[in-house]
């Protein structure tokens, strides 16, 4: 039996080494960073321990801007994308013809490089000296003036941002909800039909309770994902998100770490832990709500 014991650890060794070096150690380290005051990355020295990093981050206008942007993105995109995904997958589940085609098309954004497609969105929405861009032309049909969605007013930028985020996250949600809907027993719908149940009632009384676990799963992961928004923003507005006023919390963390404003791992660590605390709080609230409303 002794030989067996050691061989078990042997199989685990690569995983333990990699996870230890790149997950466990960093986890402890990030806590330490976040309380080391005045850390200098060149000399690797610091001059005290305390919560200064947190207060600095919370007073940093860039962080507050990032916090605001992130919350707006979360509050808009999570409900919109979940609702839209529900609407689309409901319709998908009720058709037979062209269903495979639609499913394939809807899934496409999942497998595309968001940085690359973000460029296309930028071109569609951007105003340049040569052209107002396609979207502006379409808006002008309805009599509205041209807006620069990429370098223009905040609301316009936020609109593109949210639109693109929804476009990117929808495939996964549609996929999950479509398979959840497909697993609802057909007999329930037949029984409801024989009883003459109105469509809306079928939806609220049968469909929604049946898929509620999956729906809540999507809402929870949707919140977590939206709070970590970053690369979609870079795709639309470029790497200097602070200049565009479109930075997010994750973007702030990376900016603190590296690049023009970088070299402050302590601030990055404090910001990361603040983000983690926010996400954890929201998730716990979500779980508490779901316990009340989800039928397992």
């Amino acid at each position: 039996m002794k030989r067996k014991r050691s061989s078990g650890w042997l199989y685990l060794l690569p995983a333990i080494l990699l996870l230890g070096a790149f997950m466990v150690y960093p986890l402890i380290d990030v806590l330490i960073y976040s309380v080391e005051e005045g850390y200098n990355s060149a000399s690797q020295t610091f001059n005290g321990v305390g919560l200064y990093n947190y207060s600095h981050v919370l007073r940093d206008p860039y962080f507050m801007q990032a916090l605001k942007n992130t919350f707006i993105i979360v509050i808009i995109t999570v409900p919109v994308s979940t609702g839209l995904a529900l609407l689309i997958s409901l319709q998908l589940s009720k058709i037979k013809k062209l269903r495979d085609l639609f499913q394939t098309v809807f899934f496409l954004p999942y497998v595309t490089n968001t940085l690359a497609v973000g460029l296309v969105f930028m071109i569609l929405f951007k105003r340049t000296p040569y052209s107002d861009g396609l979207i502006n032309l379409m808006i002008s049909i309805f009599g509205a003036g041209p807006v620069d969605f990429i370098d223009g007013p905040y609301a316009a930028k936020m609109f593109v941002m949210c639109f693109y985020t929804v476009w990117v996250v929808l495939p996964f949600k549609v996929l999950i909800l479509t398979s959840a809907l497909a697993s609802v027993k057909k007999e329930y719908y037949n029984a409801a039909r024989v009883d003459g149940t109105p469509r809306w009632r079928v939806f609220t009384k049968i469909t929604l309770p049946a898929i509620s676990p999956m729906l809540f799963y999507l809402i929870i992961t949707g919140f977590i994902g939206a709070f970590k928004a970053y690369s979609d923003e870079v795709a639309l507005f470029g790497t200097d998100l602070n200049a565009a006023g479109m930075n997010t919390i994750v973007g702030y963390i990376y900016d603190m770490l590296y690049g023009n404003g970088g070299g402050y791992p302590s601030y990055a660590a404090a910001a990361a832990l603040i983000l983690f605390a926010i996400v954890l709080t929201i998730t716990v609230i979500n779980l508490m709500v779901s316990r009340k409303h989800v039928h397992y």
């Binding site: 149940t197 049946a210 039928h295």
Partner: protein, 371 residues
Amino acid sequence: MEIVLKNLSKVFSGSGKRRHEKVVAVNRFDLTIPDGKLVGLLGPSGCGKSTLLNLICGLEEPTEGRILFGSDDVTDLPPEARGVGMVFQNYALYPHLSVHDNIIFPLENLRGAKRLPKEEMEKRVAEAARLVQITELMERRPDELSGGQQQRVAIARALVKTPSVLLLDEPLSNLDARLRLQTREEIRRIQTETGVTTVFVTHDQEEAMSISDYIIVMKEGVLQQLGEPQTIYEKPANLFVAKFLGTPQINVFDAEIRSGRLCLGGAEVMPMQGLADMPVWAGIRPEGFVIDPAGPLECGLVRVEVMGRDTSIVFTHPAFTGASARAIVPTAKNVDRSAPTLRFSLNPEKVHIFSKTDELRLGAAAGGDVQ
């Protein structure tokens, strides 16, 4: 409500690569289900029973033919407009609703003039619950109920809107043997109490025989016979019906009619009036054999199984179509187990003759009853 099916057919076509393959699930059904009766729809798996039930309730649209409830042609009506109650094979109880909420569900669907006042709804729910004896379970969830209780809730939900027709799809197949017996009595009682025309699907002939007023036997989408259980057993319309009903199965012999007599393997076994000379199938029920040392049918004895009141005798005969035939005789008759052969005479009422060309019943030996 009387149910009339006129030339009713349902053809399914495959999808995708199989779209040219057609399956005739129900083939030109013509029959009338009398008002207020309990009717068993019997047939082997995949014979189209459930499709027929779905046609009656409106979940499937017929390819051809009409369906009438009384004098009303309901063929094109959607299911909710037909006033049918349906109990599904897996009961289809909504898992997140209590028993009470499940039962009241169909009533809450009603809109406009048909909507009942709240007290009337509750009264109806209480009445349905009383009828199926689940009054104490009203606040439970379906997953807190036994299979039999779930079945009752499903029936109550189907009955609460006082349907003109009650349809049950394999109502007993998900229950264990003991509950099955109990529940089928229950269905009989509920049907008698309400008097609603009831059709239930089953593949178990014993189930159908025991509680139905009428049995419909179907095979591969085609109606084989409609009649009272006893009639179907005693006068099966064809070889399939004869084989499908009765346990142990009927014994089928390769026989022939020769100058007014039935011959099995060359031996004349009994008189057979009114039939021309020809080869036939002779079906003999296990209880049709009578031990008789002077009997005309000589068989090779394989095994004797005493089963309490009855004794089952397994024997061989050259004209028998299977490996070994089976006779059931009262146990009191002493059987010499060591004898290599055994002689039987036949009870004419238990002998059925079928044509070899179309397998239709040609006439029983008893009383010259020729159809």
